[in-house]
Amino acid sequence: MKNVFAIALGILAAIGGFVDIGDIVFNTAAGATFGYELLWAVVIGVGGIITYAEMCGRVAAVSERAVFDAVRERLGFQVGLVALVAAQFVNLLTIAAEVGGVALVLQLLSGLPYRALLVLALLALALVLWLMPFSWIERVFGYIGLALLVFAVAAIKLHPDWAQVARGFVPKAETDNLAVYGYYVVGLIGAAMIPYEVYFYSSGAVEEGWRPKDLGVNRANAIVGYTLGGVLSFALMISAGALLLPQGISPEHLGSVALVAEVPLGQIGLILALVGMLFAISGAAIDSVFAGAYNLGQFFGWEWGKYRHNAGAPRFTITWAVMLVLGFLIVMTGVDPILVTELSVVFSVVALPLTYLPILLVANDRAYMGRYGNGVVGNVFGVFYLAVLVVVALAAIPLLIASNMGQG
């Protein structure tokens, strides 16, 4: 019974932790531009994160290696270093986007100047990172982030044409603006599979000392948690498609995202949407900051992890502090956080194959995995997604340019 309870709590945290600024931006923008037509791309993205999160969690539980331990052992120093630099570049952009997103939501809540709120966001995040135990961080932000479920209620209240919604789950490209359509496909898959989630997830599994007996929890977290997290993405796209597309509103501001909940549900909808976004994006900021420090610590063999107290893993601590400040400085220049978000998602797609290949190799290595190696299902999905990622990675930058970042 205690176990079931723990699994349920883990799943709840995974749902709340799934959505970040990238999901919010791309799902509402795709809904506002193409209605429900791109729901299938979210399904592909969610399938990808489930496949690789489960694999990374299993590798962590059985072989006690986190992602960048495996990257370096399997790819060697040189290719591993390239993967590390790419991952850290993407992480930095993601951190900047999330910190900017936190300030944007705070601005919608308070009306205070954006730059002052950036400073407030930096201080609040630093305090949480410095003081809060690992298990608390994961839970608190995941649970309160569940307020985003208000978008599921909003989607239903907006009475979308459900037959048309259903058709959106079938892949097709009936549009005269293929570049923009393709750009959103890349964005939706990238936002769902954003790499920091997997770095964080696998490192967290090692920190919490997962063993093969925890593989059930791993599978439940990955499959149920991320599927339900994907439902939040559907809800965002469907409600944006039902409300913003007919009005011709393009969601360049997070305010129009909140509007999607406010119109059908009033004040309470607005508040739940903003609180949910605040905690989901803050949680993502924290996870991505840690992810950057995990990667560096694992690649260079430092002490890493929050379970060793701050001074117990000093280089890890200094790394997350530096990455948080660098991310803050990027958005402090005044660059639009929504623009940074889109770039972080597109570049993450480019960096993903280098992360996932070594994980797939290790998950198939019996010397590491014993009888817990990949089965046929794991490999079919693993290889399929690696192929998808390579194609999407090759198309990402040309589509970014051809579509003028989705502006057409």
């Binding site: 072989s63 006690e64 290696r65 331990d69 370096r72 052992e73 399997r74 060697g76 120093f77 040189q78 591993g80 270093l81 390239v82 410095w130 003081l131 610590g297 690649f299 260079f300 063999g301 430092w302 002490e303 890493w304 107290h309 701050n310 001074a311 893993a313 000093p314 280089r315 601590t317 200094i318 010397a367 590491y368």
Partner: protein, 113 residues
């Protein structure tokens, strides 16, 4: 000791000292007896200047990091599994590179949280 592939089984693996602390990676290996046909690992090399043996990017990274190399004689290795376990502490093996960073972090209130 059972047979292991040096490239995949030891190189780039995590070093752990006798107190259970992470203390770097196996950045390179020193082999001996290659010429007389009975090669064996004489020592593990760790530290940023050991990256020089790891290709062009390794040389570049070593030049930027400008650190030192610590040589750990193979006799100091207790066991090789996912991690390479050492018989002594990082401090005794002159691997304790986190001390400087630790003193910086310790100055901030709440460092032991």
């Amino acid at each position: 000791m059972s047979e292991i592939d040096l490239g995949l089984g030891i190189l780039d693996h995590q070093l752990v000292d006798s107190a259970g602390h992470h203390c770097g990676k196996v950045d390179d290996l020193e082999l001996e007896g290659v010429r007389d046909g009975t090669p064996r690992v004489a020592a593990i090399l760790t530290g940023s200047s050991a990256w020089r043996g790891r290709g062009l990017l390794g040389r570049l990274a070593a030049a930027i990091a400008r650190g030192r190399t610590v040589r750990i004689p193979w006799e100091e290795v207790k066991e090789v599994h996912a991690e390479v376990e050492l018989r002594r502490t990082a401090h005794e093996l002159r691997l304790a590179r986190e001390e400087h960073a630790r003193r910086v972090v310790e100055r901030i209130p709440g460092a032991s949280l």
